[in-house]
C-alpha cells in the first residue's frame, strides 16, 4: 500500500477513535499532573465523533475528509488540544484539497501544514513542550523520506520513531503554554500530554499502513 484513499482515511479515523479510547486513562493521568485532566476525554470524544461524522460523508476528496474531521473537532471539543487538532486537520486538509489519493509526499505536505497551522494558532514553537514537539520532528522525517523516495510504510515508520523520540525529549523541556506553563520549572522531568497525543496520531497511520 503506497497511497491512501478516502476509504483508508476513514478506517484510520476509526483506528484513531479506538486508540484514543484505549489510551484515555493514560492521557487523563498525564494531563492531570499539571493540567485539568480532560485530555483523555476530549481526544476520545473528538476522534469518535470525527470517525462517526466521516462514516456517512460521501466524499472522495481526501483533503475534504481531513477538513471535515477538523470541523467536527471544533464543534465538539473546544479544549486546547481539541482546538489545535481542529486547526491542524483543517489546514492540513486544505493543503491537499482536490486529491483523491495521497502519497507519502502528500502526507508530508499535509502534516507540514497541520503543524504550521498549530503553530500559528497556538503561537508556540518547537521546544516549548507542546504537541509540536512530537509532530514537528515527524514532519521532518516524512519530508526527508519523501525526498529519498521511501515507501509510505517506511516514511511513516520513520515519522513515528521521530515522534516517539520527540515525546521523550519533552521531558527535558519547560512548559511555555497552557495550564502547565504556570508550573514552570516543576514541569521538568514530565512528558508532555499534548506531544503524546501527537505521537499517537502518527501511530494510527503507521500501524494502519504496517499491516
Amino acid at each position: 500500500m503506497n497511497t491512501l484513499r478516502a476509504k483508508e482515511i476513514k478506517q484510520i479515523f476509526n483506528a484513531l477513535a479506538d486508540l484514543m479510547s484505549e489510551k484515555k486513562e493514560w492521557l487523563i493521568e498525564l494531563d492531570g499532573i499539571m493540567g485539568d485532566g480532560d485530555l483523555g476525554l476530549t481526544m476520545s470524544t473528538g476522534f469518535i465523533k470525527a470517525s462517526e461524522g466521516l462514516k456517512d460523508f460521501e466524499e472522495q476528496d481526501v483533503g475534504k475528509l481531513f477538513a471535515k474531521a477538523g470541523m467536527i473537532f471544533a464543534q465538539s471539543v473546544p479544549s486546547t488540544m481539541g482546538t489545535l487538532m481542529a486547526t491542524g486537520l483543517m489546514k492540513g486538509g486544505k493543503a491537499i484539497q482536490g486529491k483523491q489519493e495521497v502519497y507519502l509526499s502528500d502526507m508530508a505536505q499535509m502534516l507540514n501544514e497541520f503543524v504550521e497551522g498549530i503553530m500559528a494558532r497556538g503561537k508556540a514553537k518547537p521546544g516549548d513542550k507542546t504537541i509540536i514537539d512530537s509532530l514537528y520532528p515527524a514532519v521532518q522525517a516524512l519530508k526527508s523520506a519523501a525526498e529519498e523516495q521511501k515507501s509510505l510504510k517506511e516514511g511513516l515508520t520513520l515519522a513515528y520513531q521521530a515522534a516517539v523520540q520527540g515525546v521523550e525529549e519533552t521531558k527535558n523541556m519547560i512548559s511555555k503554554h497552557g495550564r502547565a506553563a504556570y508550573y514552570q520549572e516543576k514541569s521538568l522531568g514530565k512528558q508532555d500530554p499534548g506531544a503524546t497525543v501527537g505521537m499517537l496520531f502518527i501511530k494510527a497511520f503507521t500501524d494502519y499502513v504496517a499491516v
Binding site: 473546544p78 486546547t80 494558532r121 495550564r179
Partner: protein
Amino acid sequence: MRKLINDPANFVDEMLQGLYAAHPEKLKYVNDDLRCVVSAKTKKGKVGLATGGGSGHLPLFLGYVGEGMLDGCSVGGVFQSPSANQMLEVTKAIDSGAGVLYIYGNYGGDVMNFDMAAEMADLEGIRVEQVVAGEDVASAPKGKEDKRRGVAGIFYVYKIAGAYADEMASLDEVKRVAEKVCANVRTMGVALSPCTIPEVGKPSFVIKEGEMEIGMGIHGEPGIRKSELKPADSVVDEMLQPILEDLPFEKGDEVSVLINGLGATPREELYVLYRRVNQILKEKNIKIFHPYIGEFATSMEMAGASITLLRLDDELKRLLAKPANTPFFVQEQLEVR
C-alpha cells in the same frame, strides 16, 4: 461535595435554563443553543461586544450581558472554553454592521477559539477586533504581561468599553478604550479553600484549613506563596504591594478599587479587606473614585478574594460612571467629581 445540583453533566445547561426563565426580558439565546447568550435589547448601528469563557465564575461571563455592557457571550463547560462555532454564532447575532469586539480573558483555550472564531467571522464579512484581558500580577512577572491571566479586572473592561459602545463609538475607538483599561488595571488574588468541578466530584487541589495561597488563579492555578492564614490586614498588605509596584500606581493617581469575593467569602470580610486597602491608598495619596465590593468573578465555592486597582483618567472615569443594567450588575449614573 456540598452542591445543590442534579446530574453534574447537566449542570451548565440547567443553570442556563434557570437563567433564561428568570430573565426573559434581558437575555435570549441564538442558534437553538443555550450556550449562545445574547442581550434581548439591541441598539441598531452599535458596535457589538462579545465575551465568552468557561462556566463556574458567575457573574463572569454571561452576567454582564445587558444594557451598557456586553451584547453577547458564549458559554463553555465548567472551566472550559466554549467552541469557536458558538462564538461565531454569537458574533453573527450581535453584529449590526458596525463590527464586533471580542473581550475575553487570557487563557490558552479561549484565545485559540476566539482567534478561530474571528477568522470564521472574517469569512462571513464581519469585522472583528479582539482585546485580551490579563491583569493578574501573580501569574507572570513584569515584562511578560502578555502571559498574565485575566481575572476580575475584566469587569472594568466590560463596563467601560460597554459604556463607550453605548455612546455609538466606532469599533476602533471602543477597542482603544478597552485596551486602555487593560493597560491600567492590575489584580492579585488569595485563596483559602479549593473548589470542586461538579463532574469531577472532588477538589482538584488542596488548601488546608488555616492556610492560604497568595496569587492563586480562579481555576486553582498555582500562586506565588503558600503560608499559614494571616490576619486580613497583612494579607491585604501582601497583595497590594505587588499591585502598586507593578503599574506602578503613584501618589496623585486616582483609582477605582474592586474587592472581589471568590465564592464562599462573606461580604463582611470583603469590607474588612477594603478598610485596609483604603487606609493604605490614603497614606500613599492615591484617591479612590468608586469602589466595587462584592462578587464579580468567582470560582464556584472557593473561599478567598481578589483586589483589583484601575488607574483612571477623565475618559475612563466618565465611562465607568455611566449606568448599566444587566441581570448581575445594575448601576445608576454615578456622580463624577
